[in-house]
Amino acid sequence: MDFDEKILREPDHLVSPGSWVGHIPFAFWLIRTLRPKTLVELGTHTGNSYMAFCQAMDAEQVEGRAFAVDTWEGDVHAGSYDSSIFLDLKKSHDPRYGSFSTLMRMTFDEALENFNAGDVDLLHIDGLHTYAAVRHDFETWLPKLSKRAVVLFHDTNVYERGFGVHQFWDEITRKYPGFSFKHSNGLGVLLVGDQLDGDLVEIAENPAKATRYAHLFQVLGAGIERRLLIDEQKKWIDDFQSGIESRDSQIRDFHRAAGAREDIIGQLHAEIGRQSSALQKSNRTVQSLMERITRFHEQIAHQVAMIEALNAEIHALKNSTSWRITAPIRGIKKPLQPAWRAAVKRALKNLPAAIKSTHQRVGTRGLLRKIPSYARNGRQYARALAEGRATHSSDSSVLESRSARLHPNLVDAENAYDLTVSVVIPTKNAGPEFEFLIRKLKDQRGIQALEIVIVDSGSSDQTVVVARSAGCQVIEIKPEEFTHSHARNLGAEAAEGDYLLFMVQDAYPIGDRWIFGMLNFIQEHAHEKVVAASCSEFSRSDSDMMYDSLIHTHYEFLNCLRNDRIGQYKGDTHGDLRSQGQLSDVACLISRAVFSQYKYRGAYAEDLDLGIRLIQDGFKVAMLASTKVVHSHNRPKFYYFKRSFVDVVFLVGLFPDFHVPRLIDASALMQSIHASAVRLSQFLLKLENASGLLKAVEILDGLISEWRENPVDASLQGEIELGDESLGKYVKHLKEISELETQPGPDFSAHFEFSKFQNDFIARVEHFRNFVAKIYDYLDSETKKDLIDSIVKIYSSAAGSSLAFMCLKLKQGSEPQQRLASRLQNELTAGI
């Protein structure tokens, strides 16, 4: 027997699992003995056996080829595994044995066609270990075996988990000679070739010799198994030590963090102690200051009462004949009436709460800074205190607010009305979103039918094409023919629906049961004489802070910010009529029968006018919060100037009791608007250049405090940089008018007009500040710009309103004054 130390060589490739490694010494011996021309292994897995064969062929310089066949995806016995097994083996195999050995990634059956009959000298079957599989593998590969072929069967000594190699081994050794080893799951050595001789045949024919060799190879194999075990244990220990080191590192980090945290907690405790002490001290100071402020307010209230009485006396002396002239005389009675005295009592009673509220909002310093303002505007504050409110707003107690409703798209019921609705939309260059409005309207559910009537006044874009192609009825009018009322009345006349829904071209319904929601509200409240309903607006994602603030304020005034509300006639004051009668043509639903009796009228605010007429006739109108409409604007700054001008002119014209402030000096007022623009430009430049994060409230409080403590005067000179060229130009234009076309008033008049305008501007900023304070904290650059733009828009609004009041007064003056008023009105109403 050829048997030397070469079979004791160390295997180059030794990996888990180690069920075969005990046969490696036999593999070395077998290759040296058989010197196969072709070796095939069926089932290679991690490659312990195959790599041993290859190592021996290489070392013994056997001139043969070797092939490992496996899918390397696993089976029920080996379990499933991923490609890493194959890739690891390939990485180890190819550089060493790639010259004569091939890894064939395929099934055993697929590999068959690659081999000629009678070529294979050594076949190692170690695939799926069921009886059927082993038998199949042997029988299909039998024709490929040579006349000196040896076949190895692994796992002949496994009797569990469905292993059937032992059964096939028992059968096949009745037909062919062979011998087997029991160690390492057993290995059967079958001598299939009929031209074999030498040691293999001797071992097969001599059981005693076979036993000796089996013992020898078991002992040698056990050494290799022990080596694998030691390697694995070393790796496990390395991993474990690495884990311990990692854990130790984490524990050290934790201890460090805990130590740092304890330090911080200690510092925090110390800081809390200091803060508590300071807070107690501050509280005492605040208490003392509040007591002083209360005394101040009591004095102010007393002075207000005195001023009221004196004013009444002056009016009584000056007026005595007509209704208009005697009106102040009725005012004289007021202070004498028990109701007025009760109002003063209520004002005094509400004073502490108002001080507390104001203190919470602006702090002690802010409160002290406001005292001059209280003194200047004592009457308004006293009235607000008597009525139990802090600012000017509608008396919400007289508005009917309904409990919150879910949007109809969120209600499971799929109710529908057997009613038709005609949507009337005046258009002019409605833009790219218009087609989506039309599609959205056509998708509406919950009504019997819907028609869309477009009244277009000269679009040059695709508006008319889009409308016609969507099947809308289109009425085209000349641009000069357009007024808000006329266009809508034309559409209504052409409409045939049971209800008319007036909309604007840039509004957008929310949900596909939007019209149903509005209709449903009217139907459910028809017995209460509700005949029309409008949606409140929900800002678009590109709306600005100013617009958000405006509609928030507006809906607070109408009491429909969160809940639906029904308005009805309560009286003829402008506050009552506006708060109760408001409808909005952004989305206004009304029965066609009712509308045909009223129609729209006037060139402006036709919706409010309609609502007022309806409630004056005993109907009710609704403003809905449960069903809103997407709509908002991001208008240029100068637009707010013109819009405010037009609003004031309209409101004064519509409401005889609308308060028009005094005008002493038009020239000074226009100079005040200009000087304020210069002052504001300087403030904004400083703000824009400020680095770091700023709080919205701090910015606005800074502005308020700066203007209160250091009012603008006529001597202020500088550039106007308000981020809107049109606005800047117009303000300069006003200054020129003031210098060239108006006469300065008496000395005190400039101070009066400057104070009046600045007070109005700062009051608006304060109102805006209260909105912003609830929402915004620190500002990033984008929001800061939005805030700056809003401040300018507030200024622009204040200037527009002041100029409108001025024009209304000038219209009652001399002929040049009237001409100036008309000219300014023409300039500022164009395009609105």
Binding site: L268, A404, L406, H407, N409, L410, G431, P432, E433, E435, F436, R439, K440, D443, Q462, V466, S469, Y508, I510, G511, F538, S539, R540, S541, D542, S543, D548, H552, L561, R562, S626, K628, V630, L693, F771, K774, I775, Y776, D777, Y778, L779, D780, E782, T783, D786
Partner: protein
Amino acid sequence: MNLLFFVHQFFPEFKSGTEKVTLSLAKAAQRAGHKVTVLACANNLEHFDCWPSGRLVGGYESVYAGLPLMLLPRNQLPATSAFSFDSNPGMVRRLRQWLGEEKFDLAHGTHPMHMASLLDGLLEAGVPYILTLTDFFYCCYRINLINAHGQACEGPAEGGRCLTDCPIFADDGDRFKNRHQRAHRFLQHARERVAPSEFVADRYRTVFPELNFRVIPHGVELIRLAEKKSFAKNVESASSPLKLLYLGTLVEQKGVAVLLDALAKIPTANISLRIAGGFYGNSAYESEISARVSKDPRVELIGEIGAEDVAKELAAADVLCLPSLVPETFSLVLSEAAVAGVPAMVSDLGAQEGFVRKSGAGRVIKSGDVTAWAEALGGLAGHRELLGDWRRRVPLPLRQEEEAFLYQSLYQFAA
């Protein structure tokens, strides 16, 4: 109202779909006059311009797009919070105190990953909350109800199925059971549970049959889409190719390979296909797809496109193709295509299947079936008149403002 939005991650660190939805809802609430705070987990504070919070110990504050942010550093939350509902008791205590001090009227969660500590805090502080179910995280730690073998999962079976199909650790039995119980508790106490599609709602109804789920689809950014030119289609000439568009990430699960194989089966069909999307670092898949595209002159790979170009691509397309191999909870691109009036051919999985079946604006095709896709594409190329009918059926999806208002309508009742 004083509203708290909470989400597993947020701008500027992460900018994917759920973060965009959260940003849109929070900004809309702010515009409507509500006080809004967004709380999110910060994986790396360096992405934020932030400072230690003086109100929540361990928290950091920042501001994004005018929204105040409260950030919880990832290392202060349990290591397992990426797949469990484990919470940090210390953080729960601090959050409870903070929630009480801030006096939130309502919280709105848009993703619960890492947020179990907050959810515990909300329950302990008695702050009502509503939940948006942007994916299946409440019933699947893998978030998609696809098991470790790539098969659709019927649901966690109270954690038992997770143990058998998707184990992580040796002691997963109790872990998965506990996860399911915690998810159930969080869902049960929500004032509203809102899914973005009927598909998602139905799956949740199956897993939690005793709970109600409602559907509010995510809104599209209509303003951005409308800024582009009109989507009105010209009448096609008979000789112009049928213009297909694939829009989305290029990963294997999206099934673009199926589309390419289907086209290869109909080499003479008068069809063009534009593929827009990024490969996100999968170079092997990129090579495979690029190689296939290069073999078919009808196909063009145009790479990833910006949001501003989406409308342009949609305006030029006849049909959007979404051959996804896995169900998706919501398809934003399908909604954007609907805005553009573009019908879709989609695989029979997930939310997109429901959208097309309900509207009839396109065709549903068996997922992964190359032959079926080839037949459908070839059939449409030969019968272009179908397109007109499909286009007429394309519904207009919700815009972002509508989604936001519907939620705000819910807030009033939930608070």
